[in-house]
């Protein structure tokens, strides 16, 4: 597995990463979540060795990474880019050869991958003639064509339609299943929630939470229940240990521990028919807000300024807008 520990990085005196550490397990998709300028891209560039860290280590199965090992990684940078005038298959073949494959094997791998990504019929077209969604697929192919040992993708799903998301997800899952640690960043929290096994949340250059998706749900989101009954449920407010979050006539959303919730259900049933009683699982958006703007760091900003490395920050809806 890929382990980051104590990564620090400043740009011109501005500290953009502070004690960043997390784990990307083999065989699992790890989602990397954070706002614009939170440090995702910088972290990924450091993993790839495209950028050097001021301090900290990145190890793969306990071994520190050297340049040669890193070259066997697959990388999809935040800033997309392929040679616009080069043909898709030719370009992928070239990239595979840069990674050491001979011409024949490189061409075969490029062909197979384009087939899997549903891009086979555009193989002979220059990249610039492809639609944005297809360019994105080509970009993903570029990260995969050499059979990477570790896969790092910066926003691989942005700009893809739902069908393409499924195709790409299939390829990424296969890759993870073959034992490759897969790390991808995204600001589309619903997608991350649906797709990844593990999650890492970063804000203001610090890791705020990391772990398996379910575990984070347990740890962070408040457990809430929804109750819909035939009669008015205003009595809920009087039950000790219950905090009603929203209420309208026959339905309510309330916080309570498991025992109290069961108690509430019994009371409700005694009072009349109950149409709905269900736990409400916190969404990643909620977890994210709690983690990022949590009590330990109230008012932490999502960092919407220009990206720390001087690249112009792409205009994107902020995390909160997306998850709302």
């Amino acid at each position: 597995m890929l382990v980051l520990e104590g990564i620090e990085r400043s740009f011109g005196g501005r500290r953009v990463l502070q004690d960043v550490g997390f784990t990307v397990q083999r065989g699992r998709l790890t989602g990397f979540v954070g706002g614009n300028g939170a440090g995702k891209t910088t972290t990924m560039r450091i993993v790839l060795g495209v950028l050097a860290a001021d301090a900290g280590t990145v190890t793969l199965d306990g071994t520190p990474l050297d340049a040669g090992r890193r070259r066997r990684f697959g990388y999809m940078p935040e800033e997309r880019g392929l040679y616009p005038k080069m043909k898709v298959a030719e370009q992928l073949t070239y990239l595979a050869r840069l990674h050491g494959w001979d011409a024949e094997a490189a061409a075969r791998r490029a062909g197979d991958l384009l087939e899997r990504l549903g891009l086979a019929e555009r193989a002979g077209d220059p990249v610039e003639t492809l639609s944005l969604g297809n360019q994105q697929r080509a970009q993903i192919a570029a990260a995969l064509v050499h059979g990477p040992e570790v896969l790092v993708l910066d926003e691989p799903f942005s700009g893809l339609d739902p069908l393409a998301v499924d195709v790409v997800l299939g390829v990424l899952s296969d890759t993870a299943a073959s034992g490759v640690p897969v790390l991808f960043s995204s600001h589309q929290l619903d997608l991350v929630e649906r797709l990844c096994d593990d999650m890492v949340i970063i804000a203001g250059g610090r890791i705020r939470a990391a772990g398996a998706r379910e575990e984070l749900r347990e740890r962070y989101g408040t457990r809430r229940h929804e109750l819909v009954a035939a009669g008015d449920v205003g009595w809920l407010r009087q039950v000790p240990g219950v905090r009603v979050e929203s209420f309208s006539g026959g339905s309510a959303l309330f916080e309570a521990d498991e025992a109290t919730a069961q108690e509430v259900l019994r009371t409700a049933l005694a009072r009349g028919p109950v149409t709905t009683f269900a736990p409400v699982v916190p969404t990643l958006g909620e977890i994210f807000r709690e983690v990022v703007a949590g009590p330990q760091d109230a008012g932490s900003d999502l960092g919407t300024g220009p990206a720390p490395d001087g690249t112009a920050a792409p205009v994107r809806p902020s995390l909160q807008e997306v998850s709302r």
Partner: protein
């Protein structure tokens, strides 16, 4: 961090056979691969194909046309001859004789433009006046120089200094050497710069850097463009040589011989020197619009030596100085050699100087290149590119 420890499949999980890992690539083949792409990408562009063809045609025209125009433009000169008057023309190249019965018929042929000129037996009166000529040439509007020369008795000529370089060559040779180097350096340099910025602008550079070191990219780029430039120069040389041989001017070739060999050596090194500067300069900016301003200093480094060599080719002191300065040496030293103005050790010394500065410049350029490639947005300042770590 994660407490969820699932069995992690070893390499070669479902749907995969044994992990295929290529051997780590070696630097040499990588540079060649990058260079190959560079060459292919350019050779395939329409603009490259068109400009190369035009360039070759211009060179061909430049070599062939003067001899055509100066010599027998439009084929043999047709000459009407009367009786035995044209005996001197028999067997002479460039003339076609048309027999005429008498002077009047010959004159008529000239008037009707059936022939270019006519040669008649000289009238008794004029031959008696001691011109020495026993024939009379008839033409339409002006005296046919070639014909008159052919009929004249040419006096023996003795040259006191047959080995000295003709005056015209003193200008032409620096001009030619200079032009070839100037065009190659400027053309390829601009190409290198544009491709560098294009890779930055299209962001492909980040993927490339995840695969190969920046200096491999730079080396490949310089090598690829050098191959193209040298290929172009070789094509020009081939066309020029063929043109000279076909038009019978091949005596010029033997004159140029050895200095050309030197020129090739200087050219390669001088080219690498400038190409590295072009690559490093271009890596500082992120948009094609900014290339022009950042290349200004390099362009002067190419142009000033060129004009210096062309304008001062007769000034021994200036030429000596220029032949040691790395930027002008590739042109100035071969020119001095051509005129026999340099001692045997001078080109060696200049070459060593050039090689040393090329090595230093390439190393510094690689440093700048490595540090600037991923920095996009505003122009990277040279000082910070040199100082900061990557």
């Amino acid at each position: 961090m994660s407490t969820d420890v699932r069995p992690t499949p070893a390499h070669g999980g479902p749907g995969r056979t044994a992990p295929e890992v290529p051997p780590p690539p070696r630097t040499g083949p990588l540079v060649a691969l990058v260079a190959g792409r560079e060459v292919l990408a350019q050779v395939r562009t329409r603009s490259f194909q068109v400009s190369t063809v035009i360039l070759l045609l211009v060179v061909l025209a430049g070599v062939v046309l003067p001899s055509l125009l100066g010599g027998r433009f439009g084929g043999d000169t047709r000459v009407a001859v009367v009786a035995g008057a044209g005996a001197a023309l028999e067997g002479r190249e460039g003339f076609e004789t048309v027999p005429a019965d008498d002077a009047d018929e010959a004159r008529q042929l000239v008037r009707d433009e059936g022939v270019d000129a006519a040669v008649l037996p000289a009238p008794a009166a004029s031959s008696g006046e001691g011109t020495g000529a026993d024939v009379l040439v008839v033409a339409r509007t002006e005296a046919p120089t070639a014909l008159v020369e052919a009929l004249s008795v040419t006096p023996e000529v003795e040259l006191t200094d047959p080995d000295a370089t003709p005056e015209a060559l003193r200008f032409l040779v620096p001009f030619a050497f200079g032009l070839v180097f100037f065009m190659a350096a400027l053309g390829s340099g601009t190409m290198i710069a544009q491709n560098t910025v294009q890779e930055k602008q299209t962001r492909v550079v980040e993927i490339l850097l995840a695969a190969v070191p920046a200096r491999v990219l730079m080396a490949g780029k310089i090598l690829g463009n050098a191959a193209l430039a040298i290929g172009q120069v070789a094509a020009i040389a081939a066309v020029a040589v063929v043109g000279l041989v076909v038009t019978g001017q091949d005596d010029l070739l033997t004159l140029v011989g050895a200095p050309v060999a030197w020129f090739v050596g200087f050219f390669v090194l001088g080219f690498a020197l400038l190409a590295a500067i072009y690559a490093a300069s271009a890596s500082l900016v992120s948009r094609l619009e900014d290339v022009g301003s950042v290349l200004q200093p390099v362009t002067w480094l190419v142009m000033l030596p060129y004009f210096g060599v062309v304008f001062f080719s007769s000034n021994a002191t200036v030429m000596t100085v220029l032949s040691y300065i790395p930027f002008s040496a590739p042109v100035a030293m071969p020119v001095r050699l051509f005129f026999g103005d340099a001692a045997w050790w001078e080109p060696l010394l200049a070459l060593v100087l050039l090689a040393a500065s090329t090595v230093v410049v390439v190393l510094v350029a690689a440093r700048i290149y490595t540090r600037s490639l991923l920095r996009t947005g505003t122009r990277v300042r040279l000082r910070s590119a040199l100082r900061e770590r990557d």
